[in-house]
Symmetry: C2
Subunit: 207 residues, 2 copies
């Protein structure tokens, strides 16, 4: 199909498609004449992925290109995870994180295997020192239960990834799951908070 | 203490403190002379909360003021949760969300009690239609396991809140927990993903 048709099928304006082509987010079409290129379903698919990463995942163009490149590379699953995780995580400098908070994170997940540079480790350390700074305590194993929840989600991620047939579609699920999984969990937690609050504080039938 | 001392104790520049006072984020000091006010530990505490909401929670000044106001109001826990949830959630219009995706969310959590306007409901609907758009399926109960994880976290949130002695400190935990809990979970999920990937794909000892 020509670019005008690609635009209408994918619901993305022609100017935006040209921008994605220039930025290397979208693969080039096959030249059918000196001024024309032809696009196929793979372009439609890629455009949808780009929109998901940018609009719902909130990634920058640069970050979206990095994760897309990692899907279509020879990277291992672990490498693709690392790229996706770094893309969705704020860049933190280990020097800026309270070492005592990092020790507590390492103690909390001491039965897990991970590298010190895992972006989640630094981010979790920062959250812990922020909780301290505002005087929030962990009196009923709050953080330990978040650990439990995180493992449930990560096991589900990996189980789902294993159902995908090719390395490429596995890598795609790694990327989409990492980028959108945070949003899905946060959304479900908001519903669950309302549910549990209702259960505990609203007498039956008055909710 | 005077403002200069407040600044050094809380580690926040005087100009920034003045800005927070103007914006109504920080309560005024007690006037000790026409040109001077006196501040106490409550101001230090509040400044730390403001920094946590802005720097780690990523809230805007306006959103931070809204959630702080809700802490020091007579709102019920459910109301404070609603304010905090709306503050950390992107504003979505129900018209923009695929109704079929919303139905699937309602079916997924049909045993939970919540209002249709819960911001998590709309956000979850949008994530589901995005998964559809990029061809991601839920072959092994992926979303159901995220539901399980979300309930673990929400129960932990409410249990922790119940240990706080005053309405005000309960409300503070609602706000801090809602704003920072997403970040804590996302961080722990990244460590868990690395852990589970290592477990499944790296032979013992070579990690």
């Amino acid at each position: 199909m020509r670019m005008a048709e690609l635009s209408s099928v994918a619901g993305v304006p022609v100017a935006t498609i040209k921008y994605y082509l220039r930025e290397g987010l979208l693969q080039a079409g096959v030249a059918s004449s000196p001024n024309q290129a032809s696009y196929d379903d793979e372009h439609v698919r890629r455009l949808r992925l780009i929109r998901a990463l940018l609009d719902v995942g909130g990634l920058s163009i640069l970050s979206a290109r990095e994760v897309i490149d990692s899907i279509y590379s020879d990277s291992s699953l672990a490498e693709t995870f690392a790229v996706a995780q770094n893309t969705v995580s704020e860049t933190l400098d280990v020097e800026q994180i309270d070492p005592e908070a990092l020790q507590r994170i390492d103690a909390l997940v001491s039965d897990w295997k991970y590298l010190p540079a895992n972006p989640g480790r630094l981010a979790a350390g920062r959250v812990l020192s922020t909780f301290d700074a505002v005087g929030q305590r962990d009196d009923r194993g709050w953080f330990g239960r978040y650990k439990t929840a995180a493992l449930v989600a990560a096991e589900a991620d990996l189980d789902e990834i294993e159902t995908r047939q090719s390395r490429e579609s596995q890598a795609e699920t790694v990327v989409v799951g990492t980028v959108l999984g945070d949003a899905l969990f946060a959304a479900l937690r908001r519903i669950a908070q309302e549910h549990v609050t209702q259960q505990r504080y609203s007498p039956e039938g008055t909710a």
